[in-house]
Symmetry: C2
């Protein structure tokens, strides 16, 4: 099985075409649901007592919730606005609420997870949590600007404690203080990551392993309405696919990146979680085929 | 054969690591030399009487110069500076000199060219010049911000008079007033281009034809020193490859885009023209093979 540790949130997302208020979001929500199309996925996250039942039902439909803690107080809330091009997001408000004092616990049944995804959490928490798994075959973490600016050393330490880092291009540059993405990746590999995956949004991604570079394009879409959760969906699909194959062969890791691109494309073509929630295994396979014929020459 | 119409310049290029003064450059120089690795290429361009003999010798080594006019006065000069990331170029000075009053003439032996590349010239000149070719099978044009801002209607008319448009992503957005590159391409196809190729620099390119989209990655390079001429080299390789195969089949056009990515990679890894001048057919084929194995999954 796969364990995903990260945030479950109530998001307010302001896009040029629509405003969503207090909708189900969070890195672990997107990553977990995306992964669940491939493998049984357990969630380690926290919500408050205000967390709507309908959202709990959605999580329950896709995920094992033994690791979901419900604590007195309000659920983590995020409020962000996209510009007209959907390429820049401004944070209006972040309310940590119950997430602020959350001490994640790994349920007994998750300890045997061979695949573990640590979303963009506090890097110290990620570094501690990964130790609680007994048989990790492949662990992957993400990080964001907030942690790079506030806890850079901890981020670097975290990178040394996992197998793979998945990170946005701008954050990779910020973290490593390099302009060229190959140089960024090399630095992260020097810090201990075996694999580095740099996400470039509409431009696809770059996978690095030893001296191998695997660049891949995004699935081309004409109508993108909400980029929220695309990167998390990408990461969830990657590790979900690998867990389903129970492998870390380079060839399968390359394929997992392609699945990442495809799940990211489902995420952005509808608002909030709607893109992920309206897909299924058959639609994913069909889009994988389209992806392959699209890039063939 | 292939005819390339465009600028031949003396460039001053200021990169973070090196300043080049009055070096051989210009869109037609890069495009023509890039194309010449695939097919006999004729140049239509103008230089002044100050044009150094050593640069004339370089052009002569790669290109047919029946269409190169030497006029009394100074050669077109361009002066630009790159920022530290090499992703933004600021124009410091543009001196049109003999280019300002140039009336291009198609030499008799070029009139039978079945492949014609019209670089980022005055769009009205491009639209007129293409009429002087008797047997055009495939014509392709580029354009830049300067013409989009000063002669947008003429640019649109030019697009309707050629088979293919090759254009940078930012310029495609500026021209079509769309954010999404698929929407940009559709608009240009509505204006009459059969094929649209949007160049995305380090992120590769997108080819559009009818309802086909062919995204391709750039050849990944760790050390990029000077992006000057990369887009021109891309375009030259594309049309040079197609001319060498004497075809416009979609499958070969896709391959031509891959050659474009590869020649662009040679251009950026050395300063000025040095990248193109130090490559050859064998190195190109070897990099094409590397490209294929790089993207394979």
């Amino acid at each position: 099985m796969l364990t995903v540790f990260g945030s479950t949130a109530l998001d307010t997302i302001r896009t040029p075409s629509k405003i969503l208020k207090d909708v189900l979001g969070g890195a672990a929500t997107f990553a977990g649901i995306s992964a669940s199309f491939f493998v049984d996925t357990g969630l380690i996250a926290v919500v408050g007592t205000d967390f709507p039942k309908k959202y709990h039902s959605i999580l329950q439909k896709y995920l094992d919730l033994s690791g979901l803690s419900v604590q007195k107080g309000k659920t983590f809330r995020y409020d962000g606005s996209y510009d007209d091009t959907l390429s820049t997001r401004t944070t209006n408000k972040t309310e940590l609420n119950v997430l602020g004092s959350f001490s994640p616990v790994v349920p007994e049944k998750y300890r045997k997870s061979q695949f573990v995804y640590l979303a963009n959490n506090d890097p110290d928490q990620n570094t501690e949590l990964i130790k609680e798994f007994d048989k990790v075959k492949f662990s992957m973490c993400d990080t964001i600007e907030f942690w790079i600016n506030s806890k850079r050393k901890s981020v670097i330490k975290m990178i040394g404690s996992v197998d793979a880092v998945v990170i946005n291009d701008e954050e990779a540059k910020l973290l490593t203080k390099e302009h060229n993405l190959i140089k960024c990746a090399k630095k992260m590999m020097d810090w201990g990551a075996k694999y580095v995956i740099i996400k470039k949004g509409e431009h696809g991604s770059l996978l690095f392993f030893e001296d191998v570079i695997f660049p891949s394009v995004a699935f081309s879409l004409e109508d993108i309405v909400d980029p929220t959760g695309a990167g998390d969906s990408f990461a969830g699909a990657m590790i979900g696919y690998l867990a389903s194959k129970n492998t870390t062969s380079l060839s399968e890791i390359k394929k997992s990146v392609v699945y990442g691109n495809v799940l990211g494309s489902f995420a952005v073509e509808k608002y909030g979680l709607a893109g992920l929630l309206s897909t299924n295994k058959a639609k994913i396979q069909s889009r994988i085929k389209k992806y392959q014929s699209m890039i063939d020459f």
